[in-house]
């Protein structure tokens, strides 16, 4: 196999704990996480939002156990396909790979859809042009760049994501005070505090399954597993789970702040409401640009 191709797939370094966590986080803090949080909050309340965050974290914990074992038994593998090749008979192996590719293309479509939606809120006049530019960048990094470039991009991306998710809620809560926000939410949206709905429990348990399935069948995640040092994988996944869970929680805090003073017309417009609630426009730009 040629060098250029191997460099594209594996990069040139073996990941330790830090790089593994950073690249996994960069892979899994997605448009879904951001755009589905308003709907989760309104339909399943605060308990549902926290449950959603915990579900994602649990999925990573579970995957850590599997990944450790697989990494040890297949030291030579690069993609999930290499493992399947050894474990399935040839013709069925192709069926399975095609299924994974189909799921991957679908997941990518959901990502693109989420990105398009954010462009739709940010530049309503020309959403498709912004989206096209976004796609060109994705093609550059994903198709031409290779793992090395992706890793350095991930590093900056994770720094910025956490800058945003820490800065914005703290700024909003400091500016307005915690108890006015709490009172406002209690006055306008008392149903959000309702716990113990059966639907919430089912939602969270189904979310655990869907998250686990998504992470388990994702080829990008497996490629990161196969370049990580075997002894670090368990810890890397556990830490990723813990850190990942803070992102939906931060979004929950921001959303609560956004709806604390008023009612809203439509769930899909909540992101817009949230952006408007950040009143200083540079904060809005930070949110759209970084997240």
């Amino acid at each position: 196999m040629n060098d250029k191709w191997m460099l594209y797939m594996r990069g040139s370094v073996t990941f330790g704990l830090g790089l593994a966590i950073i690249t996994l986080l960069a892979r899994w803090v997605t448009g879904n996480t951001i755009l589905s949080s308003p709907q989760t909050l309104i339909q399943y309340g605060i308990a549902g939002s926290i449950g959603y965050a915990i579900a994602g974290g649990l999925a990573f914990f579970f995957l850590g156990l599997v990944a450790k074992r697989v990494r040890r038994s297949f030291p030579e593998a690069i993609t999930i396909g290499d493992v399947l090749k050894e474990k399935l008979l040839p013709s069925y192996y192709h069926t399975f790979i095609l299924m994974l590719l189909f799921m991957g293309a679908y997941a990518l479509m959901v990502q693109f859809y989420a990105a398009g939606t954010l462009f739709y809120y940010a530049i309503p006049q020309l959403p498709l042009i912004g989206f096209g530019g976004f796609l060109l960048l994705v093609i550059y990094f994903g198709g031409y760049g290779g793992l090395k470039k992706l890793t350095s991009l991930s590093f900056y991306s994770v720094v910025m994501i956490f800058l945003t998710t820490i800065l914005l809620p703290i700024y909003s809560y400091l500016q307005n005070g915690i108890s006015p926000i709490y009172d406002g939410v209690k006055l306008y949206h008392p149903y959000l505090f309702f716990m113990g709905s059966h639907e919430t429990v089912w939602f969270v348990s189904a979310a655990i399954l869907v998250f686990t399935g998504q992470i388990l069948t994702d080829s990008a995640t497996w490629m990161r597993i196969f370049v990580t040092k075997p002894e670090k994988i368990g810890l890397a996944f556990q830490s990723t789970g813990l850190i990942w869970a803070t992102v939906p929680m931060a979004l929950l805090a921001l959303l609560l702040f956004a709806i604390s003073g008023k009612s809203f017309d439509h769930v899909y417009l909540l992101i817009q409401t949230m952006l408007q609630a950040l009143d200083a426009s540079f904060l809005m730009i930070i949110f759209v640009f970084f997240v």
Binding site: W28, L118, L135, V138, Y144, A206
Partner: protein, 143 residues
């Protein structure tokens, strides 16, 4: 944007690697061909998805659990493949299909979250049955 950019790029990178390494490379391509195929597949996929998104856009956002049944029944399948020692035939693909169909059918009478559990549990049960059925056959390690 940046979070979405890294997530999508990583996904595209994983997708392309899987496609070329495990579907096309078996014909042993040259360096140049690999690069060509890589660029071709990336542009083609991005173009197709761009068209799809431009058409369905902007409509309601309910995509997250759309393939929930498929994901739920894929968990036992992938786990079975990864954990067992022997080589498996068509069973995983068939059981995934059965599990998803059971989930989608049960969607008619149950809530969508129940149907995800229905997919998962039926696929699990089928794999346990399949494993017990094959226990005798795979007792000796394969060559």
């Amino acid at each position: 944007m940046i979070a979405m950019l890294t997530a999508s790029s990583s996904e595209l990178h994983g997708w392309t690697s899987l496609l070329i390494k495990n579907v096309w490379l078996e014909k042993s391509l040259t360096d140049k061909q690999i690069t060509q195929y890589r660029h071709l597949s990336v542009w083609l996929l991005a173009f197709i998805l761009f068209v799809i998104v431009a058409i369905v856009f902007p409509s309601s956002f309910s995509l997250l659990f759309f393939f929930g049944n498929l994901y739920a029944s894929l968990i036992p399948a992938v786990m079975y493949i990864l954990i067992t020692e022997h080589r498996t035939g068509p069973a995983p693909a068939i059981i995934v299909a059965i599990g998803s169909v059971i989930g989608i059918v049960s969607h008619l009478s149950l809530h969508s979250f129940f149907s995800i559990w229905a997919s998962f549990l039926s696929a699990c049960l089928l794999f346990i049955a399949f494993y017990l059925f094959n226990l005798q056959k795979y007792k000796k390690p394969m060559e």
